[in-house]
């Protein structure tokens, strides 16, 4: 009797201690997401006395799905996510494998790899904007001195080169972080597994495919998932580098929503774009739930 009363007391204390965290999360994420859905079903006009809602059903979504710019932004975002995540994972894995051995200067390397992660994306965007600059950018100077190009190129002035330029800036900033995650994963692999693989005659590539890769797959999968979801929120880099241009060729879906809401005052349609993005993100997350499950399996 006394034990169970104590149990109950501790359980109550537990819920009370969880309450502040759940309350803040509910107020700032859960409730607004619900409110977002409601907003996307309304026509919202700004008046002197505040915002006026009038229920409009799915009309905002119909507008959004009929707008070519939505599909163009979605395609850009998907392509951007696919390319940057694949390149970052492959490069990150190669660098992590090269560094996963007792070589001098590794501590320094790890310290330096942390720096781009701490860098404000806006600063990195200004930095790359100056490097790419078509008139006095150092990239043109280097490429011209190597005779790869003859005249200065406006890298951010054409859709394809602007897209690639944004991707490179992202890959530069994020690959070191992915490398750190994979290096941490590599170091968790017990070295006697390699020893026994060696006794079985497996070296080099064979030991990579048979030992390293299968054991690293959970961290690879989880890192890829988080990076993809993050790429869907892409906003800062193109905001500074191209502002979505030239035209709207580098406008990710988050920027489309932002511009619709805060530049054009279309709260209804802009929010419909945002909600659609979340729908896609949830779909992606559900598809990868298996990866999450294996990670969570150890609790309880």
């Amino acid at each position: 009797m006394r034990v169970s009363r104590l149990e109950r007391k501790y359980a109550l204390a537990g819920y009370a201690m969880l309450a502040p965290a759940l309350l803040v999360i509910a107020l700032v994420t859960i409730f607004p997401i619900g409110y977002s859905v409601w907003m996307s079903l309304n026509n919202i006009s700004s008046t002197y006395s505040g915002f006026q809602f009038s229920f409009a059903g799915l009309s905002n979504y119909i507008t959004v799905f009929h707008a070519p710019i939505f599909w163009q932004s979605l395609l850009f975002t998907v392509m951007y996510a696919a390319v940057t995540v694949v390149v970052e994972m492959v490069l990150g894995l190669l660098v992590a494998l090269a560094l996963n051995q007792p070589i001098r200067g590794r501590g320094v390397a790890i310290a330096v790899m942390l720096v781009p992660w701490t860098l404000i994306t806006v600063i990195s965007a200004q930095m790359w904007g100056y490097i790419y600059n078509g008139i006095y950018g150092v990239l043109n100077a280097v490429l011209m001195s190597l005779h790869i190009i003859n005249t200065q190129v406006l890298w951010l002035g054409a859709p394809t080169s602007a897209t690639i330029s944004i991707m490179i800036a992202d890959i530069w900033k994020t690959t070191p972080f992915v490398t750190m995650i994979l290096l941490a994963g590599l170091q968790l692999i017990p070295s006697d597994l390699y020893e026994s693989a060696k006794i079985d005659g497996a070296t080099g590539w064979r030991s990579f495919w048979n030992v390293t890769f299968p054991l690293l797959r959970p961290s690879l999968g989880l890192a890829a998932l988080f990076r993809i979801l993050q790429a869907f929120g892409l906003f800062d880099l193109p905001f500074v580098l191209t502002n979505g241009g030239p035209g709207t060729s580098t406008e990710p879906i988050a920027m489309l929503a932002y511009k619709a809401i805060f530049n054009d005052g279309n709260f209804g349609t802009g929010t419909a774009v945002a909600v659609s993005t979340v729908g896609i993100v949830i779909l992606l997350a559900l598809l990868s739930l298996k990866a999450l499950r294996t990670q969570v399996g150890e609790i309880d």
Partner: protein, 278 residues
Amino acid sequence: MSKYSQRLRKSIGYVVLVAMLLIIIAPFFWMVDTSFKTNLDIGNFPPSFLPHPFTFSHYTRAFSKYGFGVYFRNSVVVSIVATFIVLVIASLASYAIARLPIRGKAPLMVFLLAISTFPEVAVISPLFLIMQRIGWLNSYQSLIVPYVAFNLPFAIWVMRTYFAGIPKELDEAARVDGAGIMTTVFRVILPVATPGLFTGGVFTFVACWTEFLFALVFNSSQQFRTIPVGIALFSGQFTIPYGTIFAGSTVAVLPIVILVLIFQKWVVAGLTAGAVKG
């Protein structure tokens, strides 16, 4: 592995290491380098390798003319307060999940993980309307509260792992001594869980320091801009004042680099704990 292939592997390791360091450092070098060049020098093509002549004027101008000091102060206040609140709330929640007999722990952890992946743009318009109504636009709390909410899930994940690794005997000894739960958490557990606090704290601080979208939308007035917003909107009317931008950027980069290098060990620990939030 033969001695030859071992040596080859090591050489490749060194080549990769040097190449990576150069690629990471080069743009930083160019940024700091440019911040000491005169405007005339900055507009030259091909650009000069080192500042000629050397000037410190962009640094003074960033603070005196462009109000960089205000942005810096705003970023420091918002990031420190948000990190502190996150650590307090996350300590309570993580202890409850790690130690107390509450139900639904596994679904709760999955829920937290799912929440931490939501893009900010999903909540930007309702939060804007709410903040406008309660008069929070252009204030510190308009950023602190969302930053706390968005960083709690990850902090709870990391700290729960640390709490779970602390011997239960510590709690029991405290209980025998008549300590309540709060005393146990803050006097007994937290002092031995400082690595968890460091990891959660550094990740939260970096996330707050670099956040852009909320800061841009909620705090657009000159007086409440944080560093990212200030630097994004630095652009002049016709030309981009790169010298000033890079002077401000260099000042913004320094403190956080020093902070992360001091706490390097715990950042790496956070990555090992399965933390993959960029």
